[in-house]
Symmetry: D3
Subunit: 299 residues, 6 copies
């Protein structure tokens, strides 16, 4: 038992070292975007959800936005639904949209809620269609054709026009963890598939969030994508467009980077692109001095 006690002393010691951080975040709103490949490993997923529950219990108003990724692809194949890509964006007809909705809302969202509740949290699953809170407009793919750029119709893909924070704030006031699927509405019955990073960014801005965490399956933003030691640990939002221009930022990272810039512009204090494969990477960011990944700040 002496050994256990020693271990527990260390544990208590570590716990108390978190005190200044706990005080720092108490009562603040933090939005976590989590999904896609980062969500596949069950063990890591449980670690992330435990972090979120802990945040909620120590008084952080915590919102989880999730994506879909592989499960959508899997079901489209099983249902034999085909869809093209234009400029990296999936052309989303009604059959695709229905599949996306079923997978995101009926499978991933519900599983996530269920997991959080199982682990002792109190989650409620929502989509942006609930309370018509996420209003969208149609988004077009931009295809370069020589000097011109054509707008190409890619179906029910949306960009967020506005997010009504009433419903989410009511739930945060009641101590629930809202879990949000990135599906929006045009307020007239139309449904839109929204990129989860963009959605999280808009939600964070609408809630006046202190932090937005984008969990990925990479280390963060790398100057050289092949060199993990080239991680940018901190960057100003205003410096990021240059990275895109200089092709330092690769394709999949672009929505994340654009979300960062937008979120910072909309008043979110800090955005963190962090490596969801590192266990408890959120806790590391919030409760220790050593963050993991790339922090984007205003100045």
């Amino acid at each position: 038992m002496a050994i256990d006690l020693d271990k527990n002393y260390v544990k208590a010691q570590h716990f108390i070292e978190c005190l200044p951080y706990v005080r720092r975040w108490h009562g603040k709103t933090i939005v976590v975007k989590y999904g896609g490949n980062a969500m596949i490993n069950e063990e890591l997923k449980e670690a992330v959800l435990k972090d979120i529950i802990l945040m909620n219990l120590i008084g952080i108003r915590t919102v989880l936005v999730h994506g879909g990724g592989p499960a959508i692809e899997e079901y489209l194949q099983r249902l034999d639904i085909k869809s093209d890509f234009k400029n990296g964006l999936r052309v989303t007809n009604e059959a695709v949209m229905e599949t996306v909705s079923m997978v995101l809302v009926g499978k991933i969202n519900q599983n996530t809620v269920s997991e959080i509740n199982r682990l002792g949290g109190k989650a409620v699953g929502l989509s942006g269609k609930d309370g018509a809170m996420m209003k969208c407009r149609k988004k077009y793919a931009k295809i370069a054709d020589g000097d011109k750029v054509h707008q190409v119709d890619i179906g029910m893909v949306g960009e967020v026009e506005s997010f009504d924070n009433t419903l989410i704030n009511n739930m945060l006031d009641d101590d629930y963890i809202p879990v949000i699927a990135p599906i929006g509405t045009d307020g007239d019955g139309g449904t839109y598939n929204v990129n989860a990073d963009y959605a999280a960014c808009k939600i964070a801005a609408a809630l006046g969030a202190e932090k937005l965490f984008l969990l990925t399956d990479v280390e963060g933003i790398l100057l050289d994508v092949n060199d993990k030691n080239s991680l940018i640990s901190s960057i100003k939002a205003s410096e990021m467009p240059l990275l895109i221009q200089d092709h330092i930022i690769s394709k999949g990272m672009i929505p994340k980077v654009e979300s960062c810039i937008k979120a910072i512009e909309d008043g979110v204090n800090g955005v963190h692109i962090i490596d969801g494969r590192v266990p408890h990477s959120i806790l590391l960011e919030l409760f220790t001095d050593s963050g993991v990944g790339t922090m984007v700040t205003k100045e």
Copy 2:
């Protein structure tokens, strides 16, 4: 214009005739169960949802519980998932359960929420897993074997143990229309498929509802299933077991009838089995003297 005015006079006159009924229901809670075949016709569906929005706007705390039916069957086939039936209950393995959840929560629930919002209401979609509000235990099929009755495992089919009304009441207080998919949890990560009639009955009881409306695609309870003039327009809950015993009530109606009996026992003032194919059958029940279908009362 004179003619329009005349028509409008009649309309206003009819509106004012609803006054005593509006007064009667103001501030009361009413649960509507709607689904399956009754939900297929788009025009009728819109009529039902308009009724529900109107109820909400005139101050009735209105909750919608929906089922699934044909869409579940369709997707099971498309996904090539097979499932047996035991004593009329579908054996629900994990693959079936995932399909049921995707269809109920990701498709039907979201579409219903979207429709209500499009028609001017303010709906929020939930399942019984949200906030872990609908706690279930495993339900077994009962198979008679001579004198004995065997309990047969049919997988993830649940019966409701308890329903926590906190989340729904918060939403009703904020004037939302909660739309609930009948999927439950065992509080330990397990998911259960619940018969929508039974779920609606439990929800109505937990909310202390004044009325439970079960919308069906038949006229109500018929003494002779082949004779529409044999409709029982009013019956006491205590008389209903006899109908089952005497085989007057056919198979599909049994869950409805058992729900009625249970809901009345649990304190719901009145349960109505009404014909969802009749336009505005809910309004007819609530706002005129001529009800349609079968009313089940305590005494």
Copy 3:
């Protein structure tokens, strides 16, 4: 019974057609001024009060301001109290004022409250003296004498200086229908008789009302008072002074027209002069496309 059901189908159908209107007015404040000759017919009066109760029940914050008219005249005669008129305004000495107060507050107001309660509403009767909410100053008659205009003292006739909306808003928050007699105070024990149209206009402005309905016993504003087909169905407030100047508007209508102009200036969105003799004329205005009478708008 089949026939009744058919009639009820029509009724429910009509009810549901009101849905967009119900949604439109829910939570808004509407002030109705009703009185004088328009209030004499018992059947019409009941129709008006039923409209008001219905408005209240479907979530409209409804305030009723009433006048007096014939009953005041009757009691002045029975009590043998004489009073002159100056420029159309009754010279109001203490004896006249006491009679006016007794008839308005003790008879008409109480009868109206009683009727509303009998018909199922929840009304509370008040005068502008309660909570000293309607502060007035003395009003003088203006008598032309050649080029000059003399101010002539006509006793306890008041014009509203300010209206404190606290008491009324408390009652609306508690779902009561406030019924207000147009009698004011100078805050120093003095009592003032106020024209009910002017009072209603000030109350509507103080409450930030969406609509003010002035129920009259004529069709609305007629271009030719002898031709009912000359009804002006819609007019801008800014165009109304011209009607007065051109003597198109007759004497009794002037306070109404001036109230309209003032109310629009003070921020009321729309004022309707409607024919109280038409059954359910308020409902026709609010819940159908065919209004009756004259609507005055800002632009």
Copy 4:
């Protein structure tokens, strides 16, 4: 100035002597019934109303119930309306009732509200018909005929069945002084004239009042009506029926005495019959050791 200061010292000294009494009554509900002959003298009336305002300001939840008396008689004569008396109760037909309502609600109640507001209080005038708060049933006169007692119909005279305290408590919570005219309703449009003493008693009971003050124009209850030194300064409710039986209590005092007994039975802690002709008799009762009049207690 030295002299003024001395006088003010005495004043401040007296004020501070009230401290234990102020503390005693803070937050309690006290109902004052005041009216009839006790209300005639303007100077005394102002003194009573100032007492009531002071009570309100120092945190006593103060309700004023008034009667009518001479003014009703005066108007019945002026309007040439005749009415018989049966066993001391006025036969109240519709014409009488209308006059009573106009005088009580339209004259006395409004004047009292106005006076309180002029003196710096915040009063709201109500009758028992407002919010249908005072529900009555018909009261019959009891005429002895030899051994039998006949019930004789005396028209619209009521006795209070129940009093809904919601409206009054809302107003007390908002720091208003409710001023109540003793007119009731049968909830079906019928109006009833109620004895003000009985009404005050019922209101005090419904509000859980700590004290009920019945202001009269006599010294209190006298053992010998001709000997002012025979004042009963304190008596138990249970001893009072004997006084009636022994004819010690004269006719006009009977409603007061019966009100006392009923109020004590209904939970009011103490009832005081006090001499409204003594200036500030209420303050003397509440804020000094020397009460005036007769105190009725439970034990």
Copy 5:
């Protein structure tokens, strides 16, 4: 008894004469600074505390700030702790500070709370360190040296930087009388001794107080300190610096005068330097026309 009644009549009469004043102060915040020599006489102290309780009971949000004075001196001597004075300010090392804290918070504050509770009030004792509500910075003595002015370190003497009114307002909302010892914090564990007059001035400003009363043991501000008839009964804040410049104001009065000027600048409506030796001098100021002492006003 007749005589008592007469005396009580006078008392009630005096009480009612306070009505306009009670109305005037109801709901306002008043800060009273009381201490030092003015606090020595037990009888006067009880009179002051009774005034404060009465203020609280009649709805004045009343805050008491106290000083220390003789008791601090006494304990420093008993504990044999020496301290120099620089320019009239005590050099406050840790030993002195600990003694000051023990005497102010542990003795005077607790005794005052206890006395108020004994006399029927509801007091809570606090220092500026509670909730870290009174933030201070170090104050230096200014010593003239020819033309130069040196800042001399006098230890733990503070001046108030800011006062967080949350805790006090919570207590006033709950009807407590906060009793505050003038000890502050630098938010980093440091403790500061603050002049009670300055502290009271800052607290009054932070609470948006209507009045600040500084109770002293002199008549007020005298033009000639030897002539009690030279009392300045009213003066504008802007005229006061002249009094200091002309040496009309003596040393001990300077903090009071500077507090007055600062409080008026910070928005307190009126500051009164009053003679705490006069019984009920606060009541005389608040509830009669004859104030005692010097009133400082804005204009």
Copy 6:
């Protein structure tokens, strides 16, 4: 940096292991009694206060009750105040009581509040005299004289009669940490010195606390006081009197043990006598499976 990251991984890992415990205690009330010798070491004191702040931040309603001990002794000596002991209890005359009050409230309480605020908490210092919340009666020493037991007057030593939880609950609702000195009142100006263990026990009971922690400077309850391996780690309250009877529990521990028994009887779920010399012993109890010290339970 890699090493730091590893260390932080371990820290985050430990933090997340606390999740079930955080969930377990969230929203519960816990009273900590801390004082005397356990409070001397500054480093340990800071560790204890950090534990308390952390408890507060993660949603535990945390109350700190402190004692005095050595500092009281020191000041009594410095002030040359003598006091006898009777049966182990200090005879407390007025001079002693004043010193106790000054040291407890003016020194220890204020220092503790200041420390908590410095470390990032939000504390408010109170004694049982504030709001007169801790009502006491005189306690007598019991001196055996042969067969008889004499009650001996030991002055201002009190035992708690009742504790009014209003003020503390208000502060807990506002997220403050109340720090309470164990000094009581008789409600009539009298002051009482109360044993801090007894006070903490009464406060825990009055607040319906889930846990009471008594921090000592020993290991807990030892079967053999000389053998630290004889620690009783868990015991039922009902078994404790036996330990006293058998003289296993030594004198200083008796108040603690009696407090335990009383607190359990009064409904506190568990009482822990823990070793304040072990760093973060509270966290070890609450957030790990390995408690330190002796836990007293009901059954």
